[in-house]
């Protein structure tokens, strides 16, 4: 084969250099997009927790009182099948709200990643992104590392990120195959993988953007820009509903 004579001059080698440049650019892009996605997910998750702890629990309380009222009505009018059905439904709703709102962690962890943390994430993602290799086993191994990385990033845990990176660097690198042709095929596959992943990330971000949670996030940010805390405002709104229903409940009890 001619590779011994002049590796650089062959069309495959020139193509390989071109593809390497292309992949370098894509590496930077994929690291950034993974960061965007991970940031968005972590931000939304943090907001969800905050929302459930402040507003969700109040809805659970409201639903609980409503279920009590429905139960009382059902007992006052045992012949009224609609009242019986309503009581069962209200109880179901109350249970669902209680479960959902209590699923949030106790303490509030706002997600405000520093620029250093983001930089760290980008570096790591660029280094160990699963789509930058073609060997199935190696990809699988990198998947596991990326999952860890995302979790550490969501927890704003720079030390853990550093530890993951150290563990990664200690582990044996997979050996690349031989020959320019093989390299070129590998390179083309890597590029295709990265491009596929970029599309998937775009879709995931779009899906997140069409969620209610994202809309809530936008509203919360807009309110914050005006110096308002929307989550607290929403909680107050439910409080007033609770007060109103309590009054109704008291009325019903005094009648019963």
């Amino acid at each position: 084969m001619s590779k011994v004579i002049s590796r650089k001059g062959t069309p495959e080698a020139r193509e390989l250099t071109k593809k390497q440049t292309e992949l370098d650019t894509l590496e930077g892009q994929i690291a950034q997009r993974e960061l965007d996605l991970a940031t968005m997910q972590a931000e939304l998750h943090a907001l969800e927790n905050q929302y459930l702890r402040f507003v969700g629990v109040r809805y659970a309380e409201l639903d609980n009182i409503e279920a009590l009222i429905a139960q009382l009505r059902a007992r006052l009018f045992p012949q009224d099948t609609a009242a019986q059905e309503q009581a069962a439904e209200a109880q179901c709703q109350a249970r669902e709200s209680a479960d959902a709102s209590s699923s949030a962690p106790r303490q509030d962890v706002a997600f405000t990643p520093s620029d250093e943390l983001k930089q760290q994430y980008r570096q790591i993602a660029r280094l160990l992104h699963p789509d930058l290799v073609t060997d199935p086993e190696e990809r699988e191994r990198r998947h596991r590392f990326m999952t860890e990385v995302n979790a550490a990033y969501a927890a704003s845990d720079a030390a853990r990120l550093q530890a993951i990176l150290a563990a990664w660097q200690d582990s044996p690198e997979s050996v690349s195959g031989d020959g320019v042709g093989a390299d070129l095929i590998r390179m083309i596959r890597k590029i295709a993988q990265v491009e596929d992943r970029l599309t998937v990330i775009d879709e995931e971000i779009e899906a997140l953007k069409s969620s209610d949670l994202y809309e809530l996030c936008i509203e919360v940010q807009a309110a914050a820009a005006q110096g308002r805390d929307l989550v607290v405002e929403m909680a107050t709104l439910v409080d007033s509903q609770i007060a109103a229903i309590c009054e109704q409940f008291a009325g019903l009890v005094s009648k019963g």
Partner: protein
């Protein structure tokens, strides 16, 4: 290639789908309630602007209220009024057409687009039909389609009757549907049903002047003079009618009194009273 997609960290406890669903529902609920409260505030602003005759500003406010709460019927209605005040209903039709491009399943957008068209326009009828297809429980859409059938130059009385009956089933507390149906019953000679519909409308709203008037007309046609007099008098009491019209009605009443007297005199003692009396 059969590699798995890149795993992302499980940020939401996905092992429990019910919890994820429950949380999403709680978020939606809060968002909807918050937006609806915002919508009400914007709507109130729109009303003030409307009252100050700043229709352009009012349109912006009502449109924003609809965006915040797409189920806010009052905002659609006032938006219609504001466009109508500027004689710009064709523009409003275009607004709804745009809205339908973004959300083709919006029964409300079809309904209010139909509402923005001329009553007797075939396109209005088509819009109501589409609204009903998207929301088979849309009582108002049946009502308006019935009205469109009713008012069309070559009105389809049977279709109008069916729509009004459907509207009544869906919204039995709306009194004017009974009144419209009673007119159709009267047209086909079903006077008992016409009287019953008027009476239902009056039962729902005892101060509903038009219902007394229509019932009086039907009574008059049937020769129930005493009942007709009663109802016309009720009507005059409730409705601030213009003087010429009032004089005309008073003349009708006195004419009916005269006829009533004549019937009473001509009838012998074996038939004490007019055969038919109807509930009020």
């Amino acid at each position: 290639m059969s590699e798995q997609p890149t795993e992302q960290a499980q940020l939401i406890p996905a092992e429990n789908a019910a919890l994820v669903r429950g949380s999403a529902l709680l978020v939606r609920r809060g968002l909807v309630e918050f937006r609806s409260r915002q919508a009400r505030a914007v709507f109130e602003r729109g009303i003030s602007e409307f009252q100050a005759e700043d229709y352009q500003a009012a349109i912006a406010s009502f449109t924003e209220a609809i965006r915040l709460d797409p189920s806010y019927d009052a905002a659609y209605e006032w938006c219609h009024r504001a466009y109508s005040s500027l004689s710009k209903l064709p523009e409003l039709i275009a607004v709804y057409t745009n809205m339908l491009r973004a959300d083709p399943a919006s029964a409300r957008a079809y309904y209010y687009r139909g509402y923005a068209r001329d009553f007797t326009n075939a396109a209005a009828l088509a819009d109501y039909t589409e609204a009903i297809r998207l929301n088979p429980d849309y009582g108002l859409a049946y009502y308006m389609r019935g009205l469109a059938h009713f008012l069309a130059p070559k009105g389809d009385a049977a279709a109008a009757m069916a729509d009004f009956s459907h509207a009544i089933r869906l919204n039995p507390a709306r009194q004017d549907t009974y009144l419209l149906r009673s007119l159709l019953y009267r047209k086909v000679g079903n006077y008992d049903a016409a009287l019953a519909d008027c009476s239902t409308a009056i039962a729902l709203d005892p101060s509903y002047a038009a219902a007394y008037y229509d019932r009086a007309d039907t009574h008059k046609m049937l020769g129930n003079f005493a009942d007709a007099i009663n109802d016309y008098e009720q009507y005059l009491e409730l409705e601030a009618t213009a003087l010429p019209r009032r004089r005309e009605l008073e003349a009708t009443i006195s004419d009916l009194r005269h006829q009533l007297q004549q019937t009473q005199q001509s009838s012998d003692s074996s038939t004490p009273r007019a055969a038919k009396t109807y509930p009020h």
